[in-house]
Structures are given as C-alpha cells and as structure tokens.
C-alpha cells in the first residue's frame, strides 16, 4: 500500500520534508514516491503527511487512482470555474 505522485506535481519539496519514511525522492519531470517505503503514514500520523501539506490538487493519488486532494478541495475555486480555466480533470 502506497501513495503516488501525478504529473500535476510542481516539485516544491514540501512533501519530501514531512515524509516520516523518507519515501519521496526528486526525479524528472516530477518527484516520486518509493512504494517500498511508503506506509501512507500508518502508525506515524493520522493522515498521510504528503497529502496533508501538498498545495496542488490532484497531485497525490492512492492505489485506486483516487485523488487525496480532489479539484477545488484546496483552493475553494468552484468546479465550473476550474473547468472554464482548464484546471479540472477526472480521477483516473
């Protein structure tokens, strides 16, 4: 069980610094999570730390491809506006 980083990632390092398992590493075009190390923070924190600090919606997904931070959840921008500006996409 492990989380994954998507193409929405802006490489801001925030998740790297808070991951209790050192599971996140720099890569091109974006950071990646080592699925051998990621525990989704079970036993360390109540919520996965990468998803709790990540500022970008849709950048972190679980094994089912569900967004931990779906469109609109962090910025509060309404879905119709996100669609208008091309900032919305469906979960995989």
């Amino acid at each position: 069980m492990a989380l994954q980083i998507t193409q929405s990632c802006v490489n801001c390092w925030a998740c790297v610094d808070v991951c209790p398992n050192d599971a996140i590493y720099e890569d091109k075009p974006h950071f990646l999570i080592d699925d051998g190390k990621c525990t989704e923070c079970l036993g360390d924190h109540g919520v996965p730390q990468c998803a709790a600090i990540c500022p970008i919606e849709m950048a972190i997904v679980d094994e089912l491809g569900e967004f931990l931070n779906p469109p609109g959840s962090l910025t509060g921008i309404p879905i119709e506006k996100l669609k208008e500006f091309g900032l919305w996409r469906e979960a995989a």
Binding site: V10, N11, I53, T75, G76, L87
Partner: protein, 500 residues
C-alpha cells in the same frame, strides 16, 4: 529592547489636519534614528527609501516549500517572464545559491543585501534556508542577511535567526482577525494536519504576532508586509498597522493585490478586484499617522537581482555562474570602497540643512509630480520610463508618495523628439494608457519628451518638463513647485480643485 519607530508625520501634525496625508517627512525619513539603528538600514534598499536609489539586493530561490495557502498565490511558481512575488526561473540548492551570491556581489558591488523570500516560505524550508545563511555569514560577512516569512513557523526559529545574525525580518501580516483571515488563507499545515478556514487563520495570526514580539524583543528589525485586498482587508489594515507598530515593527509595507486570471490564483480566477493606485495611496496615508510606511516596494520576484525595479537575473543564471571565477577576498576590498563612497555621499546630503522654502506662500496647495527617475536623479526619456516615481511637493517640502508602472511604448533609441514615434496607429493607445497612469499629477519631469507625447500630456492637463535632466529628484521637484507658486496658481482663491 524598544525600537524607536520612524514616523512620516511631524509631531505637530499628529493631532492636526495633515496627519492623514503624512506630510512633513524629511526626504531622509531615517535621519533622526539613533546611529546604531540607522547604520543597520542606511544601505538596505528595502528598509530605506533613500538607500534604494543606490544599493541593490538579491534573493536566492532556495525555499520552494510552503506551509500555508494564500488566495493571491499560485504554487506553480516556475515563470521567467513575470515580475511578482512567488515566481522564479530556477530553484537553487544552498551550494548553488552561495556561488550565485558571491558572483553577484563581486560583479555588482552595490549589492549589500541577500534575502531569502521563497518561492515558498523560507521557514518551511529550514534546512535549505539556514544552510545558505550559515555559509554566507562565514564567507561573505559584508553582506546583510534577511528573510521574509508568512510567520507560521517563526516562533520556533527566532533563536536560529538571531544566531545567524539575520537582523532584518519581513513578516507578511494581512490581518489580525481570523474571520478576515479565512477569506485570505484557505488552509495552513500545522502539527501534521491541514487546518482549514477560521481555525487555520487563527493559528497563523497567533504565530505571526508571537513571532513579531519575539523578534523585536531580541532587537531584530521587523518590517511588516500587507497585501491590500479591496473589500477583504482594506479597512482592517489600519488596525493591523496600529497593532504591529505597538509590537515594535519598524516599517509597514502595504502592497497592492496582484490578481490576474492568467496567474491561476483564487483571487485571479474569482475576479477579485485589484486596488487602484489612489486606493493604495489613501490607505498608506491613513496608516502613516501611526506607522512609518514603505512606499517604494516593487513586489519583486523570489530570485530578483539588482536595484529595486530592475532585474538582472538573466546575467546570473547557473550556467553562467558555473564558469565565473570569483576571488571574494579581492571583491570585498572593492565593495568596501564603493559602499564607503555611497555612504559618504548620503551623509553629505543629510548634513545639508534644508533651506526654507522661500517664495512659497502660506496655504499653497500640494502638487503631485511624476518623475522618470533613476539613481535619485531625473534621468529617463518619457517614452523609456518603465515606471514613474510620484512625488508630492508642498510648503513642507518634497515627499516620495509612490511609484506607478508604465508600459513602454517608445522602442527606438531616438524615437523621441524627431517626430518619428512613427507607428502611431499601434502605439497610440499605449501612450494614452501611460498618460492615464499619471492621473492626479500636474507635472511630469523627465530628461526628454517627444513631440507627440508632449502635446497629449498638455491636453491631459499634465505639464511636461525636461528642464531638470540629471538633477537630483527632490531638488528638481521643489524648483518646479516654486515656479508654479510664483505664478500664483497654488493658492486656494485662484484654484480650489485640489484642496483637501
């Protein structure tokens, strides 16, 4: 330690009619500070209005991570073409940052200040931020270090800030009321959780205020930045200004919201209006009765290099720096000479007792003038000016009020004066727009003005003036003010449209 607060208001003005216009400032508003404080800011372009004409600063982008979301920020910070806070062209490791700072300092001896300002929050990147500061304080002791933060992590790092000799800290404080805060900050990351809404804003405000007090208790100079967001915190900022002054902040910098839809920020997309230059100036004036205001901020990038208002970042990309050889010991000697010369010049200027402004009748109204200036003198062609500095002349003297950005319409070297602002069809609207930017000004001072803009300026009621090229700005403004006074046009009986 209690820090004296520099005031833009003369003592007698505080209870009187001109407190709200902040009149009576000396051109050097820092002149009456104790020597040890003045020494700390006299070569800091972001703390001293006077210094920003002569001294340069740079930011190194070593701090990408952030721990809060602001509605005026989009965390997709990678942008090379825009000049606004929070954008950078390349992130640096601490090692790269140090090489860049040494290279710039050797090349631009006027560069006295190194700041870390993002593109995230420096204190949300403590390892990268403090490694950079630690190395620089050892290798380049002649560079002042400063840091800019949203304040959330400030209390836990105040001791490290003091330890690294960082004696200038800027905190962005947009509110002191969590209900206002919830409209600006959708969430914060705090104690391993994302906290939304009013509760998040409450914690942020609490940490900012605590951090501010801890810094001023240690004698560290604190500037407070606030973003003016019309309808959200405009009235509220007056209270913010009072509170941060009471806690010992040294300077308050109220900046206009930048909210373009193409930036992809919440405010941009939701069409939150930006303040007009007049709104900003009114609020700065309203706060000035309580607090020294910074009015020369250019809202620069998190990787800016050079004088305020210019950006020489392109000359110092990592690929160029990697092949530069820097002998910093030798550079420090050259830098010292340059700094001493500038300080000596400023001291000499300060020592001159300002002459009484003779020939200006009592009760003359103030006049706003726009200046195409550079390095403290009237320097630029009207059509080449990227911005105009707005000065107010009154019987009390000359004070810097604000700067207003233009869009360049004049491309050619000699496009002015020979009637060859040729592409009138395509350039006309830009010229018109620039003239609109100067609304409220009665005179524009520049080194030269072309025929076409001259006519348009006059038609707009703005007198173009190219008589004072290369003269110090304040002297030039006062000279023109005296000329107008001599015509009798400044007295209420003759012209009452600008009174109050």
């Amino acid at each position: 330690m209690e820090l004296p607060v520099i005031s833009n208001t003369t003592p007698e003005a505080e209870g009187g009619g001109c407190a709200s216009s902040g009149c009576g400032t000396a051109p050097d508003a820092l002149g009456h500070l104790p020597d040890h404080i003045r020494a700390k800011v006299q070569d800091h372009p972001c703390y001293s209005e006077e210094a920003h004409h002569y001294f340069a600063r740079m930011h190194v982008a070593v701090a990408p991570a952030c721990n809060i979301q602001c509605n005026y920020c989009n965390r997709k910070y990678d942008c090379s073409n825009e000049s606004r806070p929070g954008v950078v062209s390349e992130l640096l490791t601490p090692k790269q940052a140090i090489n860049k700072v040494l290279a710039v300092a050797a090349e631009i001896p006027q560069m006295t200040v190194l700041g870390i300002a993002g593109p995230g929050d420096p204190l949300a990147n403590p390892a990268r931020t403090f490694e950079t500061f630690e190395q620089l304080s050892e290798r380049a002791p002649d560079i002042k270090l400063c840091v800019s933060t949203n304040g959330l992590n400030l209390p836990m790092y105040v001791d490290r800030i003091a330890q690294h000799n960082i004696d200038h800290v800027t905190i962005t404080i947009n509110c002191v009321d969590p209900e206002v805060g919830a409209k600006i900050y959708p969430w914060i990351f705090w104690e391993n959780k994302r906290i939304f809404g009013i509760e998040g804003a409450r914690i942020l405000i609490e940490q900012q205020q605590k951090g501010l007090q801890m810094l001023t208790d240690r004698g560290i100079l604190v500037k407070v930045n606030s973003v003016l967001i019309p309808g959200v915190n405009d009235e509220h900022l007056k209270e913010v200004s009072k509170i941060v002054k009471a806690k010992g902040a040294f300077l308050h910098n109220v900046m206009p919201l930048i909210a373009e839809p193409e930036h992809g920020t919440y405010y941009g997309i939701m069409e939150q209006p930006e303040p007009t230059p007049e709104m900003l100036q009114d609020l700065q004036d309203a706060c000035a009765g309580d607090m020294a205001m910074m009015r020369h901020c250019r809202q620069c990038r998190a990787d800016a290099v050079g004088l305020l208002g210019e950006d020489r970042g392109d000359e110092f990309t990592m690929d160029k720096i990697d092949v530069m050889e820097v002998d910093y010991e030798a550079a420090m000697v050259r830098r010292k000479v340059v700094h001493d010369e500038i300080i000596e010049k400023l001291d000499a200027k300060r020592g001159i007792v300002k002459p009484k402004h003779e020939g200006i009748p009592e009760g003359s109204r103030p006049v706003l003038m726009a200046v195409a200036g550079k390095n403290g003198v009237v320097a630029e062609h009207f059509g080449h000016a990227k911005e105009f500095l707005i000065y107010e002349a009154s019987p009390e003297g000359v004070r810097f009020v604000s700067h207003r950005k233009t869009e360049l319409y004049c491309g050619g070297m000699d496009a002015c004066g020979d009637g060859d602002v040729a592409e009138a069809g395509s350039t006309e609207s830009l010229l018109d727009r620039n003239i609109r930017v100067l609304e409220g000004c009665e005179v524009v001072l520049c080194s030269k003005v072309g025929y076409e803009p001259w006519a348009k300026l006059e038609a707009a009621g703005i007198a173009p003036n190219g008589e004072h090229a290369m003269e110090p700005i304040e002297e030039a403004v006062m000279a023109v003010y005296k000329e107008i006074a001599a015509t009798g046009k400044l007295l209420p009986a003759v012209d009452s449209k600008k009174v109050a």
